[in-house]
Symmetry: C2
């Protein structure tokens, strides 16, 4: 078990795009509610099964396990809720931290989110110029929520 | 992914008890419904995370992964539905197959079930003398159901 502490932002412009090579992600949820999510992910050719507990501010417990890629693909294709989340993830090192920029596709096309993982909720973070509005506390931007209410269906897109 | 094919029976008497040494199991469910279960199990000192698809007769898809015992204990203690399933499992070889006899405790005290895993749904099975009524098709005896409606609360115990 790990504790995940994460801040999340919208992204401005395209300057981030040249800073990393993207990896295709496909993920879905066996279960997602306020208290618990069980996620299946294919990140490139690697499968993962991840359990996350309830969110407490920007922190939550996380249990993650690598699983065979064939299993992940079958779980996504047969048992996960629809629609799946499709995105390309860019990992961008910046002043000692790694920013993960997710460019969504499919039902969430048009959405680009940057996340940074912290070791402490109070940690000071230097923001790259392409970082926009913070959305850490807006549950609509949780990936589990984007699977239930995709960005393409929002009436008030930021 | 594997296909699990299993027949399940009530147990008569105590003759099975001397045939194996039991291992303590503690398990719970992150999710259980008609289509899907996500189970956490401690079997002795080993942790497992298991995903099972919908039941089709006596068959269902199963994905099982070993996980660290500390993770399994924490998932059971913090995220699984209540009550947990507590039982002692006895693995008894018999005429080329292995029977698993589960003697339940806690909220399911008094219940003893024997399961045998098959490679084919049509496979002929020789039944030991201590095997009673078949309950393969009775959903009350699913462990996930025993977590929701424990045996101690049944009005019509067999």
């Amino acid at each position: 078990m790990a504790m995940e502490i994460e801040r999340k932002f919208l992204v401005v412009g395209d300057a981030w795009r040249s800073l990393a090579i993207g990896v295709a992600y496909r993920q879905g949820y066996l279960l997602s509610n306020k208290h618990l999510t069980v996620r299946v992910r294919m990140a490139g050719d690697t499968g993962y099964l991840t359990i996350k507990g309830a969110t407490d501010g920007i922190s939550r417990t996380e249990f993650e396990y690598a699983i065979p890629a064939n299993d992940a693909a079958e779980l996504l294709d047969t048992l996960c809720e629809r629609p799946l989340i499709e995105k390309v993830r860019y990992r961008i090192p910046w002043q000692g931290l790694v920013w993960e920029v997710d460019e969504f596709a499919g039902a969430n096309q048009g959405l680009v989110i940057a996340e940074v993982e912290l070791s402490d909720p109070e940690q000071l973070v230097s923001l790259p110029a392409w970082i926009g509005k913070e959305v850490s506390y807006d549950p609509r931007y949780y990936n589990a929520q984007l699977a239930k209410h995709p960005y393409s269906e929002w009436k008030d897109q930021d």
